[in-house]
Amino acid sequence: MKPPLLIKKGAEASLYLADWHGRKVIMKKRLPKKYRVSELDEQIKTYRTIHEPQLIHEAKKAGVPTPTIFLVDVKGATIVMEFIEGKQAKQLLSEVSKSERQRLCFKIGELIGRLHKYGIIHGDLTTSNMILNPEGKIFFVDFGLGEKSKELEVRGVDLHLMKRALQSTHFRFAEEYFNAVIEGYSKVLGSETVKNVLEKIGEIEKRGRYIAERKKGE
């Protein structure tokens, strides 16, 4: 058995690629953050270690591919889950044709729609957290900041984050991507809900600091 290999030192957790009873797995370990006082650190780590696998599991019921959870070690703040082979959407989007990009974004929107319809909020929708496997299935990973809710406000923030992530990482095509995401989202949730969510996103953006659109409402 090979020792676990650190493949990503994220800000929130470290990801190790490991061999676990003959399976290729990801071990997601939340390391203590020295900058936080230990009580707060413990609170945040425990909360996220318990909630993330729950949401990953629930997402499957909603029809969204996610890694299979094998083990949750709350004390060790570690989650052992299936390793998803494939490419991050972040990388993929910059490599493929325009029509393929739109198809992918539409699909991503559809998956977000399924999560929201089922009452799951991802909490960190970025193109680094979506992986396309060789069979063409898109997996959602990293539910560490997720929650359960069907509130319009929370759905709006979730999609607003997706929009923001597109703007910061894929600024050239952000609008094109986001429109395709919304189309896919609309397919699942219907135009009425989408209208409300889009209005909410507008409202959230205006709440943000220094937004030009806010002038109109003043």
Partner: protein
């Protein structure tokens, strides 16, 4: 070019986005020869934009005079005038802009409108000798995590509602703490928090890369009013929670961009606890930690002057008819031709 003294070119920068009116003078080589700040202190409550603007117009000529004296130059020695065009409070911005326009027209030299947030980053880079940092800018009006990418400073994370400094200020005011002259209200929280030991649970609200402080502030004020907890424990818990939030977001930006420098600036940068947290994540990611000295971390004219130089020497000028203030001018809207 007009206005040279001993072969040097000078830019005068006017800062007036919020409660401070400040005039700075920078040479075209980035030598800051003056940085005079006059803060408006409200008699009660927070900043009233109109009252602050009145303060600015009252002190403007005196501050200008002081700055020229400090730099040892005459108005005729100036080559350009820069001013903070936004974002900020309307009446305050307009006061600064009016002074800038008048000076530029009278001296018949170019005017350069500068984005306040860009200026904080640029003076930070100049003063700490950083090249390409992840910047955490925390003040009473802004909470922004940004980094340069493809021609602009991109916003990686920011507050969804109020600024972190505002959160501390309001809490301090609600708790009846005393503001010391020349310091923000929130600074009083730091002193008391140092005595706190017990962590009281407060909502920890990080959403993706963004943060929310308003609910947390309400929760903290409610606990304060209930009177069940010691003030020092509340201050301690408030600080620990909000600083952990910005530190988490900054660390994520650092991990994402893989940049090798972290710059901490804005009025809240003076907080020692926040400094120690940001320092810790910088170390974790093998990045250099830089914190701005207070004089240049708070709103100041020098940062406007220096950014004016950078912009002007890269072809940016603001014709008077386009020099209207921009209250909601976002950081990422500004093209940065001087960074490659």
């Amino acid at each position: 070019m007009k206005g040279r003294k001993a072969g040097k070119s000078y830019c005068l920068g006017i800062e007036s986005t919020a409660d401070d009116f400040s005039v700075g003078i920078s040479t075209f080589n980035g030598e800051i020869t003056a940085n005079v700040i006059s803060g408006y202190v409200p008699t009660k409550g927070g900043i009233h934009p109109r009252e602050a603007a009145r303060h600015h117009s009252e002190v403007a000529s005196k501050i200008l005079e002081k700055a020229f004296k400090k730099a040892g130059i005459k108005p005729r020695d100036l080559s350009i005038i820069a001013f903070s065009q936004g974002p900020g409070l309307g009446p305050c911005l307009r006061t600064g802009a009016t002074v800038a326009r008048a000076l530029a027209s009278y001296l018949d030299i170019p005017l350069v409108g500068v984005n306040h947030c860009v200026a904080h980053i640029e003076i930070g880079k100049l003063k700490t000798d950083t090249k390409d940092p992840v910047t955490l800018y925390v003040s009473g009006g802004n909470t922004i995590v940004s980094a340069f990418d493809s021609g602009r400073y991109r916003v990686f994370g920011e507050t969804l509602d109020i600024a972190l400094g505002n959160c501390l200020d309001v809490f301090a005011r609600e708790a009846g703490l005393h503001q010391r002259v020349g310091e923000p209200f929130g600074a009083a929280v730091e002193k008391i928090a140092a005595k706190g030991k017990k962590l009281i649970h407060l909502p920890y609200t990080v959403k993706g890369m963004d943060m929310s402080f308003s609910g947390l502030l309400t929760a903290a004020i409610n606990l304060l009013k209930r009177g069940e907890y010691k003030l020092e424990d509340l201050c301690y818990s408030l600080q620990e929670t909000v600083f952990s939030m910005v530190t988490e977001v900054t660390e994520r930006a650092l991990a994402h961009t893989e940049k090798k420098e972290v710059l901490l600036t804005g009025g809240v940068a003076a907080n020692k606890r926040l400094q120690s947290m940001i320092k810790a994540i910088a170390k974790e990611h093998d990045a250099k930690f830089c914190v701005m000295p207070r004089e240049f971390a708070v709103d100041n004219g020098a940062m406007i002057a220096w950014t004016g130089v950078l912009a002007y020497t890269h072809g940016v000028v603001t014709p008077i008819e386009e020099s209207f203030v921009r209250l909601r001018w976002r950081l990422e809207e500004v093209e940065i031709p001087w960074v490659k």
